[in-house]
């Protein structure tokens, strides 16, 4: 199923390839324009930016001492807020808001917990791993290959479970 969106008079079709190219290009632009202390920190990173946002908030509200990257010391990088805000706008404009088929379950929380632990262990989500791999980081090239490997194993597991 393919989606399209009307932005003013221009009809723009968003595809995963286009959004992926945009995220990648944004990583390069962020690096070129801002020269961050930490490589690619302004790009979308579901691990680093989420951690900074959470830790910064907890440190401010509760006085805890969780680690926050240099760039987010005063104000956290707003990438996660922008991402959620953009998705919220799209879902409201196109009337796609709703609870969906899944439930608020322990299984979902457990999956989230495990993914975030492994994301922090790797030092970035698949998006950050792909941008770092494009930068020539050998560890992240290995990391993204492992992510693909894990996804293949899970897909085969799901397929096998479904055919039993």
């Amino acid at each position: 199923m393919r989606h399209s969106s009307r932005l003013g008079a221009m009809k723009l079709k968003f595809t995963p390839l286009l959004v992926g190219l945009g995220i990648g290009a944004w990583a390069g632009l962020g690096e070129a324009l801002f020269h961050p202390a930490i490589l690619l920190n302004y790009a979308i990173s579901m691990g680093g930016d989420s951690a900074d946002l959470l830790d910064w908030t907890l440190n401010r509200l509760l006085g805890t001492g969780f680690y926050v990257s240099q760039i987010s010391l005063e104000v956290p990088v707003p990438a996660i807020l922008g991402l959620v805000f953009g998705a919220l706008i799209a879902s409201v404009v196109h009337k796609e808001r709703g609870p969906g088929p899944g439930r608020f379950s322990f299984e979902a929380a457990r999956n989230g917990f495990l993914v975030s632990f492994f994301v922090m262990l790797l030092g970035g989500c698949p998006i950050m791993a792909a941008t770092q791999a494009a930068y020539g980081n050998l560890i992240m090239i290995l990391g993204i290959a492992a992510v693909i490997g894990g996804a293949v194993v899970a897909s085969l597991y799901v397929k096998r479970r479904a055919t039993k």
Partner: protein
């Protein structure tokens, strides 16, 4: 961080969030869709990020913008450490496996949560608890591993 950068990052990420919602963007589900349904629609997401990033790094560095150390290759941090390599492989496999089991990567789950999906809200609860758990337990575990296996 100054106000200009804050606003630019916010606008760029809002556009990405909008596009991600409209396109059902997910960085790992394309692999599952390809293996299970022979559907390649989402499969271009991850290569798209790689190609977009590589293209922008090459073009912008040719235009004279600073890209410190690009391409990193032999100067990549930690690539000679066996411990780092093992942890990277374990982490990557874990992300791939559990993202498929959760029906989407962290970005997709944030987008779904913004759409009001209950499953994604539970996922994000676990996701943020996992971050805190990593900072309290995981970091200590990693330091212990590196300390137990010196010179590797």
């Amino acid at each position: 961080m100054n106000v200009d950068i804050f606003v630019i990052v916010l606008v760029a990420s809002t556009l990405i969030g909008y596009g991600a919602e409209r396109s059902r963007f997910c960085s790992v589900s394309g692999i599952r869709d390809y293996f299970l349904f022979n559907d390649t629609y989402l499969a271009y997401a991850l290569p798209g990020i790689f190609v977009g990033a590589l293209g922008s790094f090459v073009i912008l560095s040719r235009l004279g913008f600073q890209m410190p150390g690009f391409p990193l290759m032999a100067s990549s941090p930690g690539y000679t450490s066996v411990v780092t390599i093992c942890l990277t492989v374990i982490a990557g496999l874990g992300i791939g496996f559990y993202s498929i089991m959760a029906d989407g990567c962290p970005l997709r789950q944030h987008v779904r949560a913004a759409m009001g999906r209950h499953y994604a809200l539970a996922y994000l609860l676990g996701f943020y608890v996992g971050i805190l758990y990593f900072y309290t337990v995981g970091v200590a575990l990693m330091l212990l591993l590196h300390g137990l296996l010196p010179g590797m």
